[in-house]
Structures are given as C-alpha cells and as structure tokens.
Amino acid sequence: MTARPPVPHRLSSTVLALLVPLAVLLVAGLAIASFADELPDRVATHWDSTGPNGTGTLAGFLAVALGVPAVVAVGCWLLAVLAGRSSGTRRISVGFAVGFAIAFAVMAVGALAVQRGIEDGLDAPGIDGVVVAGILAGVVLGVAVALLAPRDAPQPTAERVPADAPRLDLAPGARAAWTRTVSSRSTAVVVGVVCVVLVLLAVVLHTPLTLVVAVVLAAMLGTMFVFHVSVDERGLTVRSALGWPRLVIPLDEVEQARVVHVRPVPEFGGWGYRLGRGGRTGIVLRTGPGVEVERTGGRTYVVTVDDAERAVALLNTLADRHRVG
C-alpha cells in the first residue's frame, strides 16, 4: 500500500470554504455595526408565528448569528483540506460553508435592520420574509460556489488490479454490462409524510415559511431516492433518476473494487449522497451490501446496491482488461 497522495486544491478550498464565508460574516458584522446605535438595548432574538417572543443583548445575538456559521466554515475548511481528495467532498464542504454563512448573514442583518428606531425589541415586526430570503440566498449561492470548486484531474493508473480481487469469467472479446436500480422507498415515504405535515402546518398556522422548507426539502430529497448504477466499459456510473447528482469512475482510475456491508447511519451519518468516516464518499440508501471502489488519488467511494458481488467482479475484470489491452 503506497502512502496516500496529498489532498489537492488546498488553496481554492481555503479561499472558498474559509476566506469567503469569513468575509461574508465580516461584511454582515460591519453592516450591523453601522446601525447598532439605532437598535433597542435588548434586541428581539427569537420569533414565533405571531412575532418576537424573546430578547437579548446585541453581543449575545451576534455571537450566535455570526459565530455559529464561522465555526461551521472552519469545520468545512478542515474537512476540505484534510479529507478533500474527491471533488465531491470539496464541493459539499465549500458549498455548505458559504451557504451557511450567507443564510445566517442575511438573516442577522435583516432581523436587526427591522428593529432600527424601536424602543423595545418585543415590538419588532415578523421576519418571515427575511428568513425565506436568507435560506434561498444560502442555497442558491452555496450551490453556485460548490460548482466553482475545481473538479478532479484525470488520474489514470497502469497498475494491474490485485490478483486476489474478485473477478468474473469473461471471454477476451466479450462485451459486458451490469445495471441495477437502487431506490429507497422508506426515505420517499418519510419525506412525503414530512412534506405533507409541513404543508398542513403552513396552512393551519399561517406560516408560509414552512412551505419554503417543504419545497427545499422535497427538491433536495427528490434527487436522492432513486439511483441507476451501471458497470461497463465506461467504468462505474451512478446516476440519480433525475440525472443529477451523477458519479462516474472510469476504468483507468479503478484500483480495485470489493463488496462491503454498509451501515448508513454509523458510517455516513445518514442516507443519500454523503461524506463518510475515513474520507469516503458514499451514495448510501439502505443498510446492506454495497460496492466499494478504491479510486486513484486515495479516493474511496461506496454505493449501496443489490447484486454487489457481480458488479464488483465485473468492475475488477473490466478494469484489469483495460490495463492489459
């Protein structure tokens, strides 16, 4: 086993996951400072559906509203520069750091701007619009910045696949394709129920905000519960039923594949397209067998899918044949 190569693109990860979020939070802090003397002594810090129901000091408010996303950004930056061997890891890290910072910055500035000139924080108006704007800005700009993170350069290898890796008996000139669809019906049901509850809450409590949460949740999860997995001359392809996200590992970057038993919650902290322990990237929809691919550049990917034995055997066989041929 050779030493793992260094994590690539550390400079861009540092700029995008650390400097950009901190700059956003700094700008938010300066904006708030510019009108701090117009704010009540105790500003509104908490709202329910009828209006503000809690107050606190400005310093305490800012420590949470700007401190939390700063800590998140540092965590994401560490993840990107220490474990960001695959572009997926770097993209999720920088997108999350920036999205979080922007959402919190918009909400902090907006929530305080409406309190200028009032005596008591409890007289502050509602901030539903501010929260919606913050979430939307965070999601949109987070995704945009994630797309800015550099993709992985091709890293082909000429090393043979280890002889003890599982193989398939394949005639020399034969063409082979393995395909399988993996879906998570339980996730779909849970998301469906949660969305219906949120919509009902929105109607009953007159809180349009929960509608936005339902829509964002449905859109995010909609990309996550059906994946088509295939192994063929193009390598391993995992594609969401909606076309995105998509993962392609070409044959010349497959070091070897093996069957693993996957437990999504302890190993990946949940279901979907996830970052897992040990820097693995996973598309994990259920507990059970999965394909684990060691990819060049020290990258490891896991996909939960039935019939993983044959997928692994075919991937090793094709990858090795590709080197020889």
Binding site: A174, A177, W178, H228
Partner: protein, 116 residues
Amino acid sequence: MLVVLDPSSPEPLFAQIGAQVRAMVSRGELRPGERLPSARDLATSLDVNLHTVLRAYQDLRDDGLIELRRGRGAVVTAHPVDHAALHAAITSVVATARDLGVPPATTLALVKEALR
C-alpha cells in the same frame, strides 16, 4: 442485471440479449414488475445500436415476458409466460404449409377451425 455479449458468436446480438433476459426471468433473478434498464441506457452500456436492444425487447414482449409501456420502459410482466414454444410451433406450421403448397388463407382457416 448482467448482460454479456460475444461479438464473435454467430448468434445475432439482439438474440443474445433476449436469451439472457429470458434466462434471468426463468431463474427468478428478474421478478415480475421489475423494470429493465432503458433501451438507450443498455445500448450505451453494451456499446451496441439502440435498435439492437429495441429488437430484443420487442421479441421479449411478443413472447409475453415483458411489457413495453410509454414512459415506464420495459417491465417484467406480472405472470411471465414464455410464448417461445408457441412461436416455434407456429414457425413449424408455416414451414409445413409452404412445403405442402397450402395457400396462407387455407392455413389460416385450418388454424381458426382448430382454435374453436
């Protein structure tokens, strides 16, 4: 599902695809209601012409093993019954009728008679 094609075999590629899907259904590896990969995806994966896969799927549909539905693709039928034996018998009836010089209309009339 796993499909392996041997381009050097005299058996046409569409027949090789059909035979493997048929075997998977009879082994219970493909269950009723299960969806086959789209013809386009499978053709790309196997690096064959789209029409090769479509031809294989149409034969499987004619044999009652799968249903082709617009928008849903190819789905294994609820009670897959392999009509291949019936097709073989029909082929042999047609061949015999030709050998004996019996005109198609007469052959059809005889088959209809027999079906009553």
